[in-house]
Subunit: 433 residues, 2 copies
């Protein structure tokens, strides 16, 4: 069965492509060409016919992902379902189920039901968790175990999977020779490195990349090539290991495209503001404009409890520079498993970053929405302001907390409202004050 | 009596200059020269001998201001005092009392007591409020009324005052000819424009600028030249009125320096990300590197309820580009008078922006603090992480909300903690897993 890329190469314009082009306000033919070149992915597993397909990539609307999932410390499935609903309500475009504790297939299925959005997973977590559930070290996971989990995930309808294919012995050597303040902070990366060290073998996701491509091809799923060497400290950003891994991901992306498999590239992480633009440029050059999926990036390490804000700062800059897909970071990052409120805060912060980035890129819809909001402000049209707000509920609630004496303004300036003063005194010349 | 600038020109190094230089990790002589050139201000009213003087400007640590104050709708003084304490605790460097309702002199004095930080005010608010308290329109405020309030504020120890001196008939004409989506959103600007239209006269703060300089000279206070024409919509950013006003402020700054009076320049406002760097550059060029004090800037108009985040995005970029002083924006902006929680959220968000900006500028202290935080992360030293966090209390609270099973990690990844995995498996080669 042909994948989307193979169809696009034949010049077929599927209903799916037309639907995505319509949602993005672009031309189907153009979208199809970008998909064939690997500059855009349309993510939907072949098995999820009822899911709305989502386009991610060059010149499309910037998308936002919310990470969900239990940890082995926090097994409450119902909470994860509530978090999935919160992500959907807050406007996430995709969710990832990163669960490592409990009945993972069951959790995955329930998240898919609760949030009908493209779903991503990181199969190595489940492969490692299964080994641990057997009472052994996760290092006892076999290569076949790992590919079996990947096949199961894709078979159960997962739309995109993170695979840390650039975590190789050579990249590891580069990191060790250069030295890092915080080594590896990617969970999947750390698991694979421990496995590689234990077995003294190459990462199977790299060594057997073709096996991965076959599985992805069958499901027409998207490979999200993970950055196991992403910096976990701003001091480690843009180092040899990180950039070498990106070079490898660029090579693998080219191989995937040849086989008709869609690819996104994952990016950092903790990156000072002055390096973000270069990081986006490097990805776009080394990976031939493949969609760039960044985590944050966090513009400082010093704000635990507020990493949705440090992530929004970095994400806005990355999005402006060309990143296509922002993975949210919640206020709980670095401190604990997020709850519903954290999920909501994380999604909104990333959507703010995306809005700021799209405005800076001059996207026509973004410009128009900014104008609409300002027109409502000028008219003191509060219902209109709520309508154009990224989070109408919150805006309404904050205004309600400190109600104004005069309903036309807000309690910040009251009768000294600049907008009101001008409305009343617009006409030049002397007049009754 | 000589002002700081006059002393600096004579080559005198006061204890004050030495204290500020020490706090900033710089050389007194260099600081003094920057002060003489107007690139740095040291803000402390002559009458506040017990206040710690604060340096703001080129290559100093980026400072954060918190706006406080009643409105005529919300007169609760006790709340404003609690907000002042919250600003202090959250790490604000200065506060501004923007009160327009209640006994304004009393509120000002009590805020000074509650938060021993440099205090700024906007005297035109009080002048307008007094006219209204007399039962007339604020347009009935006389020029002498306005200067009397300025004298009173400076006489009562106010360290810096916002004066919208660039709001002139010519700037207004430029705005009206070009047209704007949202006209003027500065409260002070709107009051002055209404007054100018009503009286068909030039703005007294411009026409009688020398009178202002005399008052500032006497108190050795800092003039913060306000941007009455700052854009209130991203669509209005960097327009003719805004830039013409900035040109005027540059001229006035030169006149102030000649008279030995310290000046800061206030900046926008609502500015798309792609225009922020240019805005900072323009200020630095047109105003000879005068300290730049920006409000936000807000990188999108579409996030009412979250303008601390949109302001942190813009503030980080502005700070990186060279802005010296960030005025916080709270989550209540555009919706209502902020409460204590809003103040705290606003101060922290601006401090995050400042931290990200200082890291991007490569400030040695910023680099070192990032490294310290990362060292603590690697060591899983939670107390250390709290110590280097911008808000230790919040970090502790968030981790406590979802306590981990294993105290060495956090509940996000639990036993799959990448840092922990590496610590345990660092040694290469086969080993018991």
């Amino acid at each position: 069965m042909l994948t989307r890329i193979e169809q696009a190469r034949k010049g077929d314009l599927s209903d799916e492509i037309r639907a995505v082009a319509k949602a993005e306000g672009t031309v189907p033919q153009e979208l199809s060409e970008k998909l064939a070149r690997g500059e855009v992915v349309v993510t939907r597993n072949r098995r999820r016919a009822d899911l709305r397909p989502l386009g991610i990539g060059t010149n499309l609307r910037i998308k936002v992902n919310a990470n969900l999932g239990t940890s082995r410390d926090a097994l409450d499935i119902e909470r994860e379902i509530r978090k999935a609903r919160a992500a959907l309500e807050a406007g996430a475009d995709t969710v990832m189920d990163l669960s490592t504790g409990g009945n993972l297939a069951d959790i995955r299925r329930r998240i898919m039901e609760a949030a009908p959005l493209p779903l991503g997973t990181v199969p190595v977590y489940e492969a490692a968790a299964r080994a641990m559930d057997r009472g052994s070290s996760f290092c006892e996971m076999t290569e076949d175990d790992l590919f079996a989990v990947i096949a199961e995930h894709l078979g159960s309808g997962v739309d995109f999977i993170t695979v840390h294919c650039g975590v190789t012995l050579r990249t590891l050597e580069l990191m060790e020779r250069q030295g890092r303040l915080l080594d590896v902070v990617s969970r999947g990366g750390a698991l694979l490195i421990a496995w590689m060290r234990y077995h003294e073998r190459e990462n199977p996701l790299y060594a057997q990349f073709d096996r991965l491509l076959e599985l992805a091809h069958e499901a027409d799923a998207t490979l999200s090539l993970g950055d196991g060497f992403r910096p976990g400290a701003t001091a480690d950003a843009t180092d040899r290991a990180q950039i070498h891994e990106l070079i490898l991901l660029g090579e693998l992306q080219a191989r995937a495209l040849e086989q008709g498999v869609q690819v996104m590239i994952e990016g950092p992480g903790h990156v000072p503001l002055d390096q973000i633009q270069a990081n986006v440029l490097l990805e776009k050059r080394l990976c031939r404009n493949a969609p760039f999926y960044v985590l944050g990036p966090l513009a400082t390490d010093r704000a635990p409890g507020y990493d949705h804000i440090t992530g929004a700062i970095g994400g806005a800059l990355a999005g402006w520079a060309g990143a296509d897909f922002l993975c949210y970071v919640t206020p709980a990052e670095h401190l604990g498993l997020p709850d519903e409120e954290d999920v909501r805060a994380g999604v909104i912060a990333s959507r703010i970053a995306a809005a700021a980035a799209e405005l800076a890129r001059g996207r026509p819809e973004a410009l128009e929405r900014e104008r609409e909001m300002s027109r409502c402000r000028k008219a003191l049209d509060w219902e209109g302001m709520y309508r154009f707000a990224l989070d109408p509920q919150r805006a309404r609630k904050v205004r309600g907390k400190a109600p104004p004496g005069d309903e036309s303004v807000c309690s910040m300036c009251g009768e000294f409202c600049a907008v009101k003063i001008q409305r009343e005194r617009k006409r030049p010349g002397r007049q009754t004050p």
